[in-house]
């Protein structure tokens, strides 16, 4: 699965994107966050702060309980600040 990071989360993690094979037990956005936290300590730190890490599955905003079945791309980013 393709994982993407944006804005300061990308700087914290140190990569813009990575291609990863997820373990079978990672089935939701929340589960993916926890698993990615074991690979990237600074990602885990960011996730520990409530509300600062948002996610999108296949370019749609997604909550932690969103299933990953069939997803090709998951992105993580801070709250948006455009306009």
């Amino acid at each position: 699965m393709r994982i993407r990071y944006f804005a300061w989360l990308k700087q914290r993690v140190g990569v813009a994107e990575e291609e990863l094979d997820l373990p079978a037990e990672v089935t939701t956005v929340g589960g993916l966050k926890a698993w990615l936290g074991t690979r990237h300590p600074r990602f885990a730190e960011a996730c520990a702060a409530k509300g600062v890490v948002r996610a999108a599955v296949d370019q749609e905003f997604a909550d932690d309980d969103r299933p990953l079945a069939g997803a090709r791309e998951v992105a993580f980013f801070p709250p948006v600040t455009g306009g």
Binding site: Q59, A75, F77, P79, V80, G82
Partner: protein
Amino acid sequence: MTVRVVEAPFDPAAELATFARGRSDVGAVASFTGLVRDEHGGERILAMALEHYPGMTERQLARIEAEARARWPLLDVLVIHRVGRMLPGEPIVLVATASAHRAAALEACAFLIDWLKTKAPFWKLEETSSGARWVEARASDDEAAARWERR
């Protein structure tokens, strides 16, 4: 296309010059332009870099535009959002709406910019003399967007 994401500077007045022109069923045009300011939180801004999520951005903008068209009888809509590095005084975003009557044009214009600010994947990085800093989301933006949630 009425939704555009652009890397080069754009000219809102030139865009408005052609927006809804030649249509005599349009009685009202509203527009909003957001520009890079040279100051934020007491610090001087040297430049602004807009990062976005290519693909998702266009999808979200198109969805927000469709929502506006579903809610108000709009005859035309234009949304242009710049990405990349820009300087103080330069336009970041333009939203324009055309309708037969003013309430629809004004409300839809406010709706579009309020939702764009909270539902489109853009992130602002400000360059100041003391370094670069990511702009934090504001609670007031969430409140402005929430005004338009269907109850």
